[in-house]
């Protein structure tokens, strides 16, 4: 079975359409979405309506949560005052234009999804705001997969796609408990993988193309897909709707620019 996994559409209807067409071309049997349907982009309602119409199983992303909870996105993840100001503008704009039924839909999205030995989350199994970047310490990365009980963990949130294989994990432990004899234990973990689906609507891998992944359960093969679309159309809509022009600027370049957090592993404790 071929499974397509996408994430971080961010109100970019043009990119979503292009990715859905590519998924059709790849003959995927099933599609999962890892959240962040809204935020930054100009068409949040249309994106949600499309995902609902196609009945795509979807996790709740951090932007989806923020719109539901009526909170601005985690302030401590903003690297600068300017970035925070722009983030709040995008949040306020999305909050104003979102339809009530769309908000209700975002509210009922689950934190995670399971399919056999696969687990799907937005950021990490512990927090929608946690970035599982490829450079995260290998032990920490392995803990995140083990915490789910799955073999493959699909996530998004970073907007940069990757496949990380974690193999031959082992720990030697000695435990002393009062009143009991000392015990030596060894722990070993089988092959685990983290698959980051990147971003459909706001890529940050250095090019404007939308990204998603195809996972083939038959041969365990994972393919990172990069899909061209008319990003200029989305950029024009961003300007037209009155969203901060820098969103169009970075969308056209696939760049995070000055928005990168100083400490991407930091998790909001809100």
């Amino acid at each position: 079975m071929k499974i397509a996994v996408m994430s971080c559409i961010h109100g970019n209807y043009e990119a979503l359409n292009a990715v859905l067409s590519d998924i059709d071309d790849q003959n995927a049997d099933k599609v999962y979405c890892l959240g962040d349907l809204v935020g930054y982009g100009p068409h949040p309602n249309a994106v949600v309506e499309m995902i609902r119409a196609l009945d795509i199983p979807t996790c709740q992303g951090c932007w989806d949560e923020d719109i539901v909870e009526g909170l601005n996105a985690c302030e401590c993840s903003y690297p600068s005052v300017l970035a925070e100001k722009r983030g709040k503008l995008a949040h306020d704009w999305t909050n104003q234009v979102i339809h009530p039924e769309v908000r209700e839909y975002l509210a009922q999205l689950p934190f995670s999804l399971r399919d056999d030995n696969l687990c799907f989350v937005h950021g990490s199994p512990h927090n929608q705001h946690e970035y599982l970047l490829p450079e995260v310490n290998a032990f920490v990365a392995m803990e995140r997969v083990l915490a789910t009980g799955a073999d493959v963990l699909f996530c998004g949130h970073t907007h940069v796609p990757y496949v990380r294989s974690l193999d031959a994990g082992q720990l030697q432990i000695r435990v002393k408990v009062t009143g009991k004899s000392e015990a030596n234990m060894s722990f070993s973990a089988p092959l685990k993988r983290i698959v980051n689906a990147g971003s459909v609507g706001e890529p940050r891998h250095g090019r404007p193309n939308a990204t998603y992944v195809i996972y083939d359960t038959n041969d365990d093969q994972i393919i990172l897909r990069e899909v061209e679309y008319d990003y200029q159309k989305t950029c024009a809509a961003i300007i037209e709707k009155g969203l901060p022009p820098i969103f169009a600027w970075r969308l056209a370049r696939g760049m995070e620019f000055a928005e990168r957090a100083d400490d991407p592993t930091h998790v909001c404790e809100r």
Binding site: H126, P134, N137, A138, F139, V140, A141, M142, E143, L146, A147, V160, P161, Y162, V163, R164, S165, L166, D167, A168, G169, Q170, L171, Q172, I173, R174, V175, K176, V177, T178, M185, F187, A189, G198, H205, G206, T211, L224, E226, E269, R270
Partner: protein
């Protein structure tokens, strides 16, 4: 030579705390630092006496350094000062009756003191905290999955984590370990690389007030890395009520 006394879970049991203080004073080497890793209070009226005692150490006693525990967090939630809006966890575990007892037990002027407590302490390469680097509710025991134990240390990059949530006294040593990792992106693939872990430890410091007549706590010498788990027996029959659990 500096020796630390580390305790947790007094849970409003003043007699137990006094017994531990007495035991601390009896030590051959003077105890210079006293860390209390949360749960100073519980849902019992005597809790306010424990706060008063902690805030007024006697001349020959170390000044306690106190951080928040689970009960302190529940109290702050009750007063609208916590991270959660509702005391859901407290109600689920102990019922509505306990909510009222906790509310009545701590006078308003003491709530501010509770609010001022740190989440934990980082001293030398040691993290001292009630639950773990994740939350006050996170309970680490010798049965916690090993990778989860390591994660709790790595979140704060500590070599030694002292915690009190479980109430157990234990020493959990991660002696060595490795993981092989490889990454494929749209533009490149890295060859497998091994990551190793350096030796680290998690120590359960015990519980002072939960078990009537018996308090456990920990002594630690940061210069020699020596640990000692202490068990103190005390009389618990003089009006002492069993802690609500």
């Amino acid at each position: 030579m500096t020796i630390w006394a580390i305790l947790s879970g007094i849970e409003g049991n003043l007699a137990a705390y006094e017994a531990v203080l007495t035991d601390i004073k009896r030590q051959r080497q003077p105890i210079e630092e006293l860390y209390i890793l949360g749960d100073v209070i519980a849902a019992r009226p005597e809790s306010k006496n424990v706060i008063e005692r902690i805030r007024s150490p006697r001349a020959n006693e170390p000044e306690p350094q106190v951080c928040q525990g689970w009960w302190e967090e529940q109290l702050l939630i009750l007063h609208g000062l916590g991270r959660a809006g509702e005391p859901t966890e407290l109600i689920e575990r102990f019922g509505m009756e306990t909510v009222k007892i906790l509310w009545d037990a701590i006078p308003r002027h003491m709530v501010e003191w509770v609010r001022s407590l740190d989440f934990g302490f980082f001293e030398l390469d040691c993290l001292l905290i009630h639950g773990s680097s994740v939350s006050v509710s996170d309970e680490l025991t010798p049965n916690t999955p090993p990778m989860q134990m390591l994660d709790r240390l790595m979140r704060m990059d500590a070599n030694l984590l002292f915690c009190g949530r479980s109430g157990l006294t234990f020493q959990y040593e991660i002696q060595q370990g490795s993981v092989t990792s490889s990454i494929i992106t749209l533009d490149q693939a890295t060859s497998p690389q091994a990551t190793f872990v350096r030796p680290r430890q998690i120590v359960g410091v015990g519980n002072v007030g939960r078990v009537p007549g018996q308090a456990t706590y920990t002594l630690y010498n940061p210069n020699t890395n020596q640990l000692e788990f202490r068990t103190v027996r005390y009389a618990s029959g003089k009006g002492f009520q069993r802690a609500r659990q």
